[in-house]
Symmetry: C2
Subunit: 353 residues, 2 copies
């Protein structure tokens, strides 16, 4: 004991053992013991040696023992190390690639909403986990067209089309009746003024002009700004497509009533999940959250693998997969990555110019 300076050192053989344990646990979902591992490893190591190494790994916090005997399982820290340095992402199997490419064949009249939902569904089916897709953020979506349609005396339907292909409907009340003619003038004005601006930008500009131009309003401008304000108000919650919640119930580990309940509760709080995804929006490539790294209650026995999708101009939203921490990262990572790329491509082609 006194000979060592600061706990066991982390050499190559330790890596091998750790990788072996994680691989085995990912495959079989069962604690792995020294004897079993000794048989599986390519390098010849006796169970006793492996036990020593395992003991060191436990001390370093990479392994735990569910029971005093009965093998060890990787900790979240181990998975983190695994995905950061050990894992080499697999080649994407061709049948999966083909499957995903169908998404991009959906045809140009498919609404973006359907495209997103389909992506979510396909990805959930392929991974057999829970799949998430956020709709393009209205923050960055640029205005393609806005239109007002009078549907009754004091109700106006607002149609808002963004460059990224999102179509939003909204009904607004007006204090007095406005003629359709007049509405057309206003929408023409707004289109002219704000086309290609991002929605959040537009909101700001409208607010600003309400303050600045307060006195020198003419009738039209006043109405335009007033309607515009209502029309662009971000009062609808952002949309999150979620599919395959039931897949997780197939997982033994997560099925005991307590975890299951927690999970389902977590899924009901879409806003919490959405905010995690939003936090990844500036990151590039695939990002992974393992176990306790997820702050959301109920997801702490799960891992989340996310990636962003984008058009030529902006990062629009993100996709994600939630599965057990012992998911097969080697497979999932390239699948998520590729899906994001396919979706980016599809949504770019969809965009209106």
């Amino acid at each position: 004991m006194g000979a060592r300076k600061q706990g066991p050192e982390f050499d190559e053989r330790m890596q091998m053992v750790l990788r072996g344990i994680i691989d085995s646990y990912i495959d079989h979902s069962e604690p792995v013991g020294s004897r079993t591992l000794s048989r599986q490893l390519e390098v010849q190591l006796s169970p006793a040696t492996i036990r020593n190494i395992m003991s060191d790994l436990s001390e370093l916090g990479f392994l735990t023992q569910p029971h005093t005997s009965g093998g060890r399982i990787p900790t979240d820290k181990a998975y983190r190390y695994y995905v950061d340095t050990l894992v080499v992402a697999n080649q994407l199997p061709s049948h999966i690639e083909r499957h995903l490419q169908e998404l991009s064949l959906l045809g140009s009249t498919t609404p973006v909403e359907a495209l997103l939902q389909n992506t979510s569904r396909v990805l959930a089916g392929l991974t057999q986990f829970v799949c998430l897709v956020t709709a393009p953020k209205s923050e960055v979506s640029r205005l393609q067209r806005i239109e007002f349609i009078k549907i009754s005396a004091r109700k106006i339907l607002v149609i808002l089309v963004t460059k990224s292909g999102i179509i939003r409907n909204k009904i607004i009340d007006t204090p007095e009746e406005l003629a359709q003619e007049f509405l057309n003038t206003i929408s023409a004005f707004l289109n002219d003024q704000f086309r290609n601006h991002s929605l959040s930008q537009i909101r700001e500009e409208i607010l600003r002009s309400m303050v600045e131009d307060k006195e020198r309003y003419d009738q039209l401008l006043a109405q335009a700004v007033r309607l515009g304000k209502k029309a662009f108000e971000a009062d609808q919650p952002e949309v999150l497509y979620m599919e395959g919640q039931f897949n997780l119930l197939k997982n033994e580990r997560l099925r005991d009533s307590q975890s299951a309940q927690q999970l389902m509760d977590a899924f009901e709080h879409k806003s919490a999940i959405m905010s995690i995804l939003d936090d990844t929006l500036n990151a590039d490539g695939v990002k992974i959250f393992i176990g306790i790294e997820n702050e959301t209650e109920g997801l702490q026995e799960c891992s989340l693998v996310t990636a962003n999708y984008q058009n030529e101009n902006n990062i629009l939203g993100s996709i994600g997969v939630i599965g057990p921490t012992s998911m097969n990262y080697q497979q999932i990572i390239p699948v998520v990555d590729y899906t994001a790329k396919i979706l980016s491509k599809a949504i770019s082609e969809q965009a209106y110019d």
Copy 2:
């Protein structure tokens, strides 16, 4: 034996016992035996007598025994008899009534879609079962307004607003570029022609005029019919709002992996469930499907309680609750009934005139 003519007769006491068993089973979800029941029943009957009656009820197909001993449970037939003749629907508890009334306070700018989804969510929360709400059938929905918006050279956004408040967006391709001016003329024409007609009616009329007027088309009419055909085509699947799928997992009986899996599979096939709901559209009041009466695979250990909602003119769609066959019908029936009425009221107020 020889004395009785055709099996046991069904007298009042038998009814009492049957009701007692069902009530008890609904409460505790556990097979009920003669001794237990004897203690619970108001009328004094010895366990032995009850055993005799139970034996008769078994013979008549109202009870089964999961094991040779260990009490009996009601069959689907028993539940059917129960809801048909024994059950007296409870008064709606006031806290539930209050809860539901909030739905009608959602304000007139709430899109109908949000109203439906909210209804589904609230009902799922109240019942702790799965709740379904179908969107108003396009068959019966009457046209309020149609509008074409050109969003790129060969793409047109169709906005279709129905009297019942549904707003549908759709993108159609056109072979040649059409000016917005021209589109306005066409939508004016279509609005004039078809306002207040039901969508299915419109579809028919368009098809008819395509055949009849084949030669004497003028340019405008031809385009109007062509665009109208695409715009009114029923190519989007009808929408079904489903909430609370996870609630069923709380139910012991349905949680074993097999049933759970089947259930989840059933929920994935929304179209099948939708068609059940559609079949109830001409029925009045609350309708109940018990266990094997559900033809849909996977729902055969569940009961479905449905009711329709409507506006002044038409039955629009239906709502439903799916729970275990041993659900508390006395409570659920009035809840579903009342919810349908609230929804009818809310949606009528929403309608555009």
